[in-house]
């Protein structure tokens, strides 16, 4: 990092200059990922509990859940810049931090490639590494374009199952990040008619007639084996049951809409449009 003597002195003054921040607190999983993707991870001093990627991020002190931040907790890591994903709060805490004169940059959220590019640019601007930001944004754009170019004919109907605890099926409706990534990867959400992630009935699964079941790849009792999944009448009668078309992907990668969105789209597109089976 090139710092002139003047700039270095400025960084030590009481009111920090945002562009030179080297004690950055990152709130929000996708923002933290972007900071690391920009190669600026060593400027972070803390993260929130939704920032679990990459592994280095987990080593940082955790200031709590993004919507439930404690003002003193945040102040205790002595940040000279706070990068926040949209929805960080509560408002009382944000007000107190503003009063404590800590520079804050809110990065708007969104489930489109353009939104991710904007996010990358906003983070890069706040960290004063605009060139790296442009490069990363271009890379993500290229990745998505490349993935979408390989998408073949036909739009598979995809049902995203968030969880299946004790037989209750939680699935993704409209306006979800799952729907957005499915559409980017050249599929369509098999479930429409409701917003967000909701519990749905078994009949709704059948009515949705998904060609592919998409799930998060995780350890423990949430992971349901294919046999078990298709032993349920609801899933057994769907088109996805023939050939047992189940796609499992890392949840943060799939739904995070961070700098790895390109990777997520290409993985999902390959799984959806690749050889059946």
């Amino acid at each position: 990092m090139k710092l002139s003597t003047f700039a270095f002195a400025a960084a030590l003054t009481v009111t920090p200059v945002a562009g030179l921040a080297d004690r950055v607190l990152s709130i929000g999983g996708s923002v933290t990922e972007i900071v690391y993707a920009l190669g600026e991870g060593d400027r972070l001093v803390a993260r929130d509990s939704t920032s679990n990627f990459p592994a280095e991020a987990v080593e940082l002190p955790d200031v709590g859940y993004i919507r439930q931040l404690s003002a003193e907790g945040v102040l205790s890591v002595a940040p000279d810049l706070i990068l926040m994903e949209g929805g960080a709060g509560p408002a009382e805490t944000i007000d107190l931090l503003r009063e404590a004169e800590i520079p804050m940059v809110e990065v708007a959220d969104g489930y489109t490639p353009e939104a991710v590019e904007d996010k990358i640019r906003a983070v890069a601007k706040a960290l004063n590494v605009r060139d790296k930001g442009e490069a990363l944004a271009a890379e993500v754009r290229a990745q998505i374009a490349e993935a979408r170019a390989t998408v073949s004919e036909g739009v598979p109907r995809v049902l995203f199952v968030l969880s299946q605890a004790s037989g209750r099926i939680m699935a993704a409706g409209e306006g979800t990040s799952a729907e957005a990534i499915i559409e980017l990867a050249g599929g369509e959400n098999a479930l429409t008619g409701f917003q967000g992630y909701k519990q749905i009935s078994e009949e709704a699964v059948m009515a949705a007639a998904p060609d592919v079941i998409l799930m998060m790849d995780r350890e423990g009792d949430h992971a349901v084996a294919n046999d078990e999944l298709f032993s349920q009448p609801a899933f057994a009668s769907t088109p996805a049951a023939e050939g047992e078309r189940v796609v499992r992907m890392d949840g943060l990668l799939l739904l995070g809409f961070g700098p790895r969105v390109g990777e997520a789209v290409s993985q999902l597109a390959a799984a959806l449009h690749g050889d059946e089976g």
Partner: protein, 356 residues
């Protein structure tokens, strides 16, 4: 029950000096805890920095000013008031229902407040933007307070016939109301998106983290009103322990007392829950503990409960601030974690003595 029935008999007098000593000890405890709570927090900032700066006539450093004066100080005041209000409301309810297991939630304040808060969290966005903007983040506390108040009034109306309020009806109606409230809450939970779900879960766990001066100023008058009003009930509650009919014969205006008790609990608990969310155990554990130690006479019990309730909540809040620092553990979890086993221990220990 045991503690209450032996109350009005001969033993009440025996423990009066004990109660006075307890008051003194609890005052000292509250003072110590209050001072300590100004020193404890995720940042290492000490209140001495503020005091030192003021004494030296120097400007206070921004971070010290915000942490001590805008975060820890309102939080201290809020914690003390909420703890005292919940404990005193517990005493009043237990006296009124003549049941040591009654807690402020029994008259539907907590359930109603919870419904108000959940509704505001989930449907707040549907309000006309002018209303939403005017209320800002006061929306949830205001809705919680209104919800608590409405349910108490509703219960009071249901259980009052010919100018007589039946406590038993109130208890049963409270159960019915709680069931209805949880049904509506269920609908709200169903409608909520992921972020709102997290919000309302955290609301239910309770926290003093949102304590700001403006919130404190809004909630303080109601809580102070409740705390000042409660001692007026002490004598009537003592007499009520003999039974409603006996108390009536002794010249207590039962109806007036019930009305006052309900108003006090609605105002103070409504305000406390509105600003701090769901904090349990204070209302049951604190009065019960004191009754075991210093007897059931209500005048000292109310005073001591206020002091101990405030101290315990402040202690729990200190733990909540530092145990997972820089994050914060909701105080409701800590209260239940400490309060539950401690209460059990007291019961077991007492059982040995009483030979029950």
């Amino acid at each position: 029950m045991v503690a209450m029935t032996e109350s009005t008999g001969q033993s009440a007098g025996d423990r009066q000096p004990l109660a006075r000593h307890a008051t003194l000890a609890l005052l000292v405890l509250l003072l110590m805890v209050s001072v300590a709570s100004l020193f404890v927090g995720a940042t290492g900032i000490s209140p001495m920095e503020v005091i030192g700066a003021v004494l030296a006539g120097e400007p206070i450093e921004t971070s010290a000013r915000v942490v001590i004066l805008d975060i820890r100080l309102p939080r201290l005041a809020m914690g003390a008031l909420v703890g005292a209000s919940l404990a005193v409301a517990g005493v009043v309810m237990q006296g009124l229902f003549r049941n040591p297991l009654a807690d402020p939630g029994i008259v539907g304040v907590s359930a109603g407040a919870g419904l108000g808060a959940i509704t505001a969290i989930v449907l707040g966005g549907l309000l006309p933007s002018t209303v939403g903007a005017a209320l800002g983040y006061a929306l949830v506390p205001v809705a919680a307070f209104v919800g608590g108040g409405v349910s108490v009034v509703l219960l009071y109306i249901v259980s009052t016939r010919n100018g007589q309020t039946s406590v038993a009806t109130m208890l049963l109606a409270g159960i019915a109301l709680s069931a209805m409230v949880s049904a509506v809450s269920g609908v709200m939970i169903y409608l909520a998106d992921d972020a709102q779900l997290r919000d309302l879960t955290f609301w239910g766990l309770g926290s003093l983290a949102g304590a700001t001066w403006s919130k404190l100023l809004a909630a303080m008058p109601l809580m102070v009103l409740g705390l000042l009003g409660a001692p007026l009930l002490a004598r009537s509650l003592d007499t009520l322990a003999l039974g409603e009919i006996a108390a009536q014969h002794m010249g207590i205006d039962i109806q007036r007392m019930k009305r006052l008790a309900v108003v006090i609990v609605a105002a103070s608990v409504g305000a406390a829950v509105a600003v701090s969310g769901g904090i349990g155990f204070v209302g049951i554990v604190v009065p019960h503990l004191l009754r075991l130690m210093t007897g059931p006479s209500h005048a000292p019990l109310i005073l001591n409960s206020a002091l101990l309730g405030a101290s315990i909540l402040l202690l729990a809040d200190m733990i909540s601030r530092v145990i997972v620092a820089p994050a914060e553990l909701p105080i409701g979890i800590i209260m239940a974690l400490i309060g539950g086993p401690f209460f059990l221990w007291v019961l077991i220990k007492r059982r040995g003595f009483a030979g029950v």
